[in-house]
């Protein structure tokens, strides 16, 4: 049984102090994760019913780009950690000997990420998503890091739900509202495409993702083009 060194109280305090400084509790939560675990990036993705509800927090822009990639491709450490309800380790994304998430690995490497790890967010035995950890150098996590990551993932899951618990009914907690605007644009674009192509909205989202993948473009760029009217699907 791996045991971490991080004290839960100390972690919670670190998040609180950082939040006071930058008024963004969600990114503060991710930054605290990178501090404690010694990795270069952390992201939190929420999932339900087998599909992603989106990334709700990131520590930095590189992580944001990689999380977006995972969302576009529908493959990656978060999704697998959620599906297995167990940690997932890819200590060397460039290791060709492992056949897993080929497109995700290609994109993450291009963004400067060399290792990726996913930890399920478990609260009261429910898996609500996953914590993604990225590092700019390849290498395995030590036993201490794994122990700490398990503690931190548990606290992160509880924190997300604690925020939601005191949100006005029917709304998303304000701490989780800092969804990048591109996410909103992606859903608006899906609406437009469904009209243009005469297909249901879920198919329109799949079409949008497929186009982004085929053209090797960030999904946010494709969504922006659809919104501006420079790209149509009819």
């Amino acid at each position: 049984m791996t045991v971490g060194r991080v004290e839960p109280e100390a972690f919670a305090r670190l998040v609180a102090v950082r939040s006071e400084q930058n008024n963004d509790p969600a990114s503060s939560l991710c930054l605290a994760c990178t501090d404690v675990l010694g990795v270069t990036g952390a992201g939190l993705m929420l999932m339900s019913g087998g599909r992603s509800l989106g990334c709700v927090a990131v520590s930095d822009l590189v992580t944001e780009a990689v999380e977006q990639l995972e969302y576009t491709l529908g493959e990656g450490p978060c999704l697998e950690a959620y599906a297995n309800r167990a940690p997932v380790f890819d200590p060397d994304l460039a290791d060709q000997g492992i056949a897993r998430w080929p497109e995700f690995r290609r994109g993450a490497l291009a963004a400067g990420v060399r290792a990726a790890f996913g930890f399920p967010l478990l609260v009261d035995r429910i898996c609500i998503g996953a914590l993604n950890l990225y590092h700019d150098k390849s290498g395995v996590l030590t036993e201490t890091q794994i122990g700490d990551a398990l503690v931190v993932a548990r606290l992160a899951g509880r924190t997300l739900l604690a925020w939601q618990a005191v949100a006005p009914p029917g709304t998303v907690a304000w701490q989780l509202e800092a969804v990048p605007s591109h996410r909103i644009q992606v859903h608006q674009a899906s609406g437009r495409i469904s009209v243009q192509a005469g297909i249901p909205v879920t198919d329109a989202l799949a079409l949008l993702r497929a186009y982004a993948f085929a053209e090797d473009l960030p999904i946010s760029d494709v969504a922006a083009a659809v919104s501006e009217g420079t790209l149509r699907f009819d």
Binding site: V15, A16, G49, L155, Q164, A165, L176, S194
Partner: protein, 245 residues
């Protein structure tokens, strides 16, 4: 400002409410103790309402029997009950009219050496879950600055308790979050559909959806779902609300 630093320190101190399945009583005891220090009072304590809306003593800065009795007296009358029922702060010296107002509680409080009492409602928006009670030997009632601090502590306590209750059954909060996230997605999709089909901007599309929802007494998310499912045609959306005959 020193006061703000005190509050920040208190907030950080209680940030570990999400750390683990913590002991509510221990948390409230520490909060009551911190309250006494920050507002320079003699004693403080917390009463929480049960499912039937009856207040019960939960924790206080000290566990002297006479103090606890003062809380248990407040079952039927007293500053806590008033603060809980009305959702507003009750700040009072123990004078003649408080003896009329609280015929059982006021004399007992005075016998215990207290000259003023306060009760701050523990509320979050429209929900009041209990009250933070403060006792002082000074005749002057709680000053406005101290009242702000006490209310801030009551708020911290409220949030901590509501969060812990939610986390002990994460299912409810999880599904609330999922529903909220899904309905946001549907609203954005509907905006795109309306903008495309009606040849209007996204903002105008949003206005059309909102107007329709309001005039049909529906939630925005319901109207959006009907648009996405195709059950509501986009040409049924108008910018003006139909006038009542």
């Amino acid at each position: 400002m020193a006061r703000e630093q005190d509050l920040l320190a208190a907030f950080i101190e209680f940030a570990d409410t999400i750390v683990d399945e913590y002991d509510v009583v221990e948390f409230l005891h520490r909060l009551a103790t911190r309250c006494v220090e920050l507002v320079d009072a003699s004693e403080a304590g917390i009463m929480l309402a049960d499912r039937d809306g009856m207040l019960h003593y939960v924790a206080s800065s000290s566990e002297r029997m006479r103090l606890i009795e003062l809380f248990e007296l407040q079952h039927d009358e007293g500053p806590c009950l008033d603060a809980y029922r009305d959702g507003v702060a009750v700040i009072s010296s123990l004078t003649a009219d408080t003896f009329e107002r609280w015929p059982l509680f006021a004399p007992h409080a005075q016998e215990n050496g207290f000259a003023s009492v306060s009760a701050l409602p523990m509320r979050l928006r429209n929900e009041v879950i209990g009250a933070l009670n403060i006792f002082s030997t000074k005749t002057e009632p709680l000053e406005p600055d101290d009242q702000k601090v006490a209310q801030a502590l009551a708020d911290i306590a409220t949030i901590g308790i509501l969060q812990e209750r939610a986390l002990s059954d994460a299912r409810v909060v999880t599904s609330q979050l999922e529903v909220a996230l899904e309905s946001r997605i549907v609203i954005e999709q509907a905006k795109g559909i309306v903008a495309e089909r009606n040849h209007v901007s996204i903002d105008t599309a949003f206005t059309l959806l909102r107007t329709h929802a309001r005039s049909h007494n529906a939630l925005l998310s319901q109207t959006a779902t009907e648009i996405v499912d195709g059950r509501l045609a986009t040409d049924e959306l108008t910018a003006s609300v139909p006038k009542r005959p």
